[in-house]
Symmetry: C2
DNA sequence: GCAAAAAACTAATATCATTAGGAAACCACT
DNA sequence: AGTGGTTTCCTAATGATATTAGTTTTTTGC
């Protein structure tokens, strides 16, 4: 019988798709083995263990998110850049729920350093260039922005906003307006 | 031989402690059975299944967080209330990492409705009473605040802030200052 | 075409979760 | 105190996932 032709990349790709369709919790070696019609143990030729697979998907998720962020910010500045960045985050959470969850899988220091995380941080810094903030304030602003993006997307997806009016999208835009004003008046506050 | 004297409450309590000390992922029926020196199957007299245990711990976590929030807000108003609420969240994440994670375990609609979640939301609304916001703006503000608390605590705990200066605590305070100003000037922005 | 490397397999072990059914402890009530 | 019923806990069996060791088979490079 011919080989299945697996590889690290194929497994991670399939794992990402599986996470998005079935949830990150459903991302198991056994499920992938079934999908490729291969015995479970065979996967160990390509992946160290289950956590290695999850870390791989996490790295892919961070890379993709960083990519989305980069193309959102490209060619924009000020509020326009911030809003585009925000939409990239929120759309990512909505269209790739599994990857969005995967992106919070704990990584080793080396893995994290080489991940899309730092790239994402740099992109967020770039988006804030139009606001004329000090070095330290830029970091504060990126953290504030990142916290809002992540927290809002999580709460929205978990249904925490589902039982109060008005619709979450309004709060989202209102929050972005507020952050824009905050960045514009940063020194004075 | 005498009985172990288990109960739903004891299991949930022990589960909460276990989650905090070993991580939410380590919260398993098998681990609790070992801890109480009881056979794994015996736990099914008190808990429907593994998810039931996790949901129970999640409910305890939300209750405790709501309690912390309530006592933080009690007797305070305006920025003082917001800051106290914020510190409650951040301390909770730091002192109860397992419960903080458990609080994001997906609950059924009925479970969520009876959880500390709605109480927490009401408490946050109360904390904003001093700012004179319209009904809808209060909701927007609560969502903005909640997103910041959750997102910041997550990113801080995950180490996302560890590789940039200044220290996260500064960004935290700076973010709260900014939110306070935002709420004060809400109508004008 | 052959030897080495890589990929896949079988087999064994461990942990966790779950259900079914039986035994023993506990409680309420006489 | 004894007895009946309820509840707790147990044993036993099954199935899913993960992991390692050792073996076979395919592929590939010379």
């Amino acid at each position: 019988m011919p080989r299945a032709g697996l590889s690290w990349e194929k497994l991670i790709q399939a794992g990402a798709a599986l996470a998005d369709s079935e949830g990150f919790a459903a991302l198991t070696l056994a499920a992938l083995a079934r999908q490729f019609d291969v015995k479970l143990a065979s996967l160990y030729a390509h992946v160290r263990n289950s956590d290695d697979l999850k870390a791989g998907v996490a790295l892919l998720a961070l890379d993709l998110l960083a990519k989305w962020a980069e193309s959102a910010v490209a060619g924009r500045a000020g509020k326009e850049a911030v809003v585009a960045l925000a939409e990239a985050h929120r759309r990512f959470a909505g269209e790739h729920p599994g990857l969005f969850e995967a992106a919070r899988f704990p990584l080793s220091a080396e893995q994290a350093a080489g991940s899309g995380g730092p790239r994402l941080a740099r992109t967020m810094l770039a988006a804030l260039r139009g606001y004329e903030l000090s070095e330290a304030d830029q970091v504060h602003a990126v953290r504030l922005l990142g916290s809002f993006f992540l927290g809002f997307s999580l709460l929205e997806r978990s249904g925490s906003f589902a039982h109060s009016q008005p619709e979450p999208g309004q709060s989202w835009r209102r929050g972005l307006d507020a952050l824009d004003v905050t960045f514009k008046n940063w020194k004075t506050t």
